[in-house]
Assembly symmetry: C2
Homo-oligomer: 465 residues x 2
C-alpha cells in the first residue's frame, strides 16, 4: 500500500493549489490526456489486479476502464474549449440604469483542494482516476483520494500511473495523492487545506462525513451520493401491452452487476390487475432462477443481508421469490407489499440483488404512493399513449423527488453526457444542485470571481478582449 | 405587524411549490413586473415609512427603491429569456462512445420553498422584495421572508404590496409570506417544507442558522452572507502619485451610509513611506472631521461599539482619529497597526464607520499581510503602471481569498449585473460558489433534472424540439 499521512498530502495539496490553478488550461488538458494514455498502456495490468481483488470480472473491468479513459479525455476537451467557465464581460457604462457600471468581467476559478472518497462499486470509473478526480483536476483543483477499502491494490496501481503522468505533464508536486484507511477519511474532510469533498457510498457513512464538513470552522461543500430507491412505475396499460418484456428487462436491470448500482430500481409500483399480477409472477420466476452472487466485499455483503432481514421482519412485507444460494454469496430476492402508505423499510435503498414490488389499486393510490417516495437519483415510468393524463400527474409528483426521469427504459446505465444529471434530492445526494456524471460534474469545483476595472495584464486569458 | 406562524406559512409555501413551479415563465415574469409596478405606485408611502423607522434618509431610500424595482424587472426579463436554464439536448445516439446514448434533455427546476432572512442595512433592496425574494420567485420557488427587526413597518407595507401583486398576477396562494420575530428564524430554517435559505447579517447569527440548516434530517443549502473585511491595498507608487485623491475617495467609501455596507473597506494596507504616511494623515483628518452617525438600530450600534472596544483593547492597535460625538450616535474612527502578522481583531469586520490602517515595510511584508487575510467579498488594489510585477503577485495572493477584485476603484457600490460576483470565501459567504447580487443570484435556487426518452407531451417547453 502507498503509505502517506493526511497532514502531509493535504498540506502538499494546499501548497500545489495556486500553481495548478495558474496552469494554462491546455496544459491541464494535456495532463488529463496523459493519465488516460497511461491507464490504457497498463490495461492488462490494471484488469488483472482489479479482477483479482473484486468480484466484477474482466469484461466489466475492461469496459469500465474504457469509460474511465473516455471521461478523462472528455474533461480534457471541456477544459480546452473553456465554455464551462461561463465568462461574462460587461464593459463600463456610465449610463447604466440605477448607477454607472464599471468594467466587470466574471469567470470561474478552482475552489481549492478536493477530497475524493472513492466508490466501492466502480473500482475505476468512480475511484482513484474516476470522474470526481478527472473533473476536479480539470477544474484546477488538487485531489487527495481516500481509497476505497474494497480495491486497495487497484487503487495503488492507478495512483502510481496518475502520479507519473501528472509529473510528466509538468504538474506541480502535491497536486495528486491517495490515502488509505477509515480514520484517514474523517481526518481528510476536517483538514483545513481541503476545500471540498466528494463521496459515493452509504447514507450512514456519507452523512457522518457531511456533518464533519459542515461543522468545520470553515465549512466546505460536501457532495455525497448516498442511497437511492429508484422507483419504477408500470401503468395498467403498460402491464397489459408489454408486461412480459418489462418483467424481463426489469429483472435484468435489477440483477445487473449484482444489483450494486446506485441507479438499480429498488421499488416497482405495479397495478393490482391480472396483467400486473402476471408481471409480478414473471419477475418472481426470473429472480428465483437467478444464481447467487458474490458481492463487492464483506461490508456490502453484510449490508445487503441486514437490509433483507429488515424487509423480512416487517409484517406487511412478503418474500415472493429467492434465487440461488451459495456460501459467502448473496441470494437474489423479490419482496412484495400492498398499498399506501408503504412501510419505511420499503422506502430505503437495499444495495444488492433485491427489489420490492408494491401494488396499487388505482391511479389515486398510485399517486399517493408516488407522493410518499423519498428523494432519489431517478424515477422511471412505463406507460402507453392512452396514459397521457395519468403520466402528466405522475411526472408532476415524481419530478420534485428526483434528478432524472426515465420513460419506457431503465435507470441503470448512466450516459456520460452533458445532458445527464446524476444527483437528486436527499438522501440520494447531499446537494441536488450538482451531479457526479458527465461534464456538469466540473461545476462542483468552481466558484465565480469578478474583476472590476482590471488592467489587461492581470486578467485571465478568457476575460481578455 | 402582519401576524403569521411559521408552520402555517411554511406549509402553505410547500403546498404552493408545485403550482408556482408549473407556472409558465412569462406568467412568473409578469408577476415580478407587477410587484415592481406596485412598489413604484406606492413610492411616497414606502419612503415615508422607511425613512421614519430607519436612519437612512429619504434620498437613500428613494434610490434604493429604484434599485429594488430594477432588480425585480431584471429577473422578469431573465425568466422571459430563459438562458438561465442552461438547457442541453442530446439526441439518442446508438453509436455514442462507450455506450449507446438515449435521448437525454437537461434543464433546471426550482429547488422548492426558500426562507429569506432580510438584511438590516438595505430595507428595500435586500429585504422583503429584494434580490433574494426576486431571484427565488423568478426561479419558481415560493418565498417566506423572515423580516428584519430594524424595519418592521416597511416590511409589512412591502409585503402587502407583494401579496396583492402576486394574487393579481394569478400566483397560487402561499407563494409568498413574511414572519416576524427572532424565534421564527430558527423555526423557519428547520421547517421540513423549506428547501433553501438565504441570510445577510452577522457571522454569529448566520453561522447559527447555517448549523441548523446542515443539521436537519434533510439538510438544505444555506446562502449566508456574513462578515467581510474588504482589504484595500495602496502601493508605494500609488501613494506617491495619487495619495491625496485616494485618501479622499477611500474616506468617502468607508463613511458611505455610516460604514454599514458589507463591502465597506475595513483594512487599508499602506506603505511605510513618507507618501504612505501622508495618506494616513489625510485619512485621519477626514475621519476626525466626520460627524457622528446614527446607525441602523440598537443592535448595530452595540455591535459597532463592541468592535471598537475590542480594537482599542489590543496593545498593538492605536486610535489615530475619532470623529464627532453625539448621544446615541456612533463616532467614526481610524485605527492603525504595524506589520505582519496582524492581530486577529484587525482581521474581523467592524460593521460601521471605522477602518484600520496597517502599514507594511516592503513588498515582501505586503505579500505576507495579504496572505494572512480571511475570506472576503472583495479586495481592492490601487497601483501604478510600474507596479506590474508586484500587482501580479498580489493578485495571485488575493484572488483565492475573495469573490471580486477591484482595481483603482472602491468596493462599495455593487453593480447589479450578470458579471457581478457578490459572494466570497468564508466567512464572507457560507458558499462561495454563489452570489446574491445580479442575475447569477438565481442559480442558488435551481437544480438540474434530466429527462430520458421522454414523450414530447411531458417535456417542459424549453426542452421540446
Amino acid at each position: 500500500m502507498i503509505a502517506t499521512t493526511v497532514p502531509d498530502v493535504a498540506t502538499a495539496a494546499g501548497t500545489a493549489a495556486s500553481a495548478w490553478a495558474a496552469t494554462p488550461h491546455h496544459h491541464r488538458a494535456r495532463a488529463l490526456d496523459g493519465i488516460a494514455a497511461a491507464l490504457e498502456d497498463d490495461v492488462t495490468g490494471i484488469v488483472e489486479v482489479a479482477a483479482a481483488e473484486t468480484s466484477l470480472g474482466r469484461d466489466r473491468i475492461t469496459s469500465e476502464l474504457a469509460r474511465t479513459t473516455f471521461q478523462l479525455r472528455l474533461f480534457a476537451d471541456l477544459v480546452r474549449e473553456g465554455a464551462h467557465l461561463r465568462t461574462v464581460v460587461s464593459r463600463a457604462d456610465p449610463q447604466a440604469p440605477v448607477a454607472p457600471r464599471p468594467d466587470l468581467r466574471r469567470t470561474l476559478v478552482p475552489i481549492g483542494p478536493v477530497a475524493v472518497f472513492a466508490a466501492g462499486n466502480f473500482p475505476l470509473a468512480f475511484s482513484v482516476a474516476g470522474t470526481d478526480t478527472a473533473s476536479a483536476l480539470a477544474a484546477g483543483c488538487p485531489v487527495v483520494v481516500k481509497v476505497n477499502p474494497g480495491h486497495p491494490r487497484t487503487s495503488d496501481r492507478v495512483a502510481r500511473l496518475v502520479t507519473v503522468a501528472l509529473r510528466d505533464a509538468g504538474a506541480p508536486d502535491g497536486v495528486f495523492a491517495i490515502v488509505h484507511g477509515f480514520a484517514a477519511g474523517a481526518e481528510l474532510v476536517s483538514h483545513p487545506a481541503i476545500s471540498a469533498a466528494t463521496f459515493t457510498g452509504s447514507v450512514r457513512g456519507g452523512r457522518a462525513l457531511f456533518d464533519l464538513a459542515a461543522a468545520r470552522p470553515v465549512p466546505i461543500p460536501f457532495f455525497g451520493e448516498l442511497g437511492s430507491l429508484n422507483s419504477l412505475t408500470v401503468t395498467a396499460a403498460a402491464a397489459r401491452d408489454r408486461g412480459a418484456e418489462i418483467a424481463a428487462d426489469l429483472a435484468a436491470s435489477v440483477l445487473l452487476g449484482g444489483g450494486q448500482f446506485c441507479t438499480k430500481p429498488g421499488l416497482v409500483l405495479l397495478p393490482r390487475t391480472p396483467e400486473g399480477a402476471r408481471v409480478e409472477t414473471e419477475l418472481a420466476r426470473l429472480v428465483a432462477a437467478a444464481p447467487a452472487v458474490i458481492l463487492l466485499d464483506d461490508h456490502v455483503h453484510d449490508g445487503f443481508a441486514a437490509s433483507c432481514r429488515a424487509l423480512e421482519a416487517d409484517d406487511r412485507v412478503r418474500l415472493l421469490a429467492a434465487g440461488g444460494v451459495a456460501a459467502g454469496a448473496a441470494t437474489p430476492a423479490l419482496y412484495a407489499v400492498e398499498g399506501a402508505p408503504l412501510p419505511d423499510v420499503a422506502l430505503e435503498e437495499c444495495f444488492g440483488p433485491a427489489v420490492v414490488v408494491a401494488s396499487y389499486a388505482d391511479d389515486a393510490e398510485l399517486l399517493t404512493l408516488a407522493g410518499g417516495l423519498p428523494g432519489a437519483l431517478t424515477a422511471t415510468v412505463h406507460s402507453q399513449a392512452e396514459d397521457s393524463d395519468l403520466l402528466t400527474r405522475l411526472v408532476a409528483t415524481l419530478a420534485p423527488r428526483v434528478g432524472r426521469l426515465v420513460f419506457d427504459q431503465y435507470p441503470t446505465g448512466v450516459a456520460v453526457d452533458p445532458a445527464m444529471q446524476h444527483g437528486g434530492p436527499y438522501p440520494s445526494s447531499t446537494d441536488p444542485r450538482f451531479g457526479s456524471v458527465g461534464t456538469a460534474a466540473i461545476d462542483r469545483f468552481l466558484r465565480p470571481i469578478a474583476y472590476q476595472n482590471a488592467p489587461p495584464s492581470i486578467l485571465p486569458r478568457e476575460l481578455q478582449n
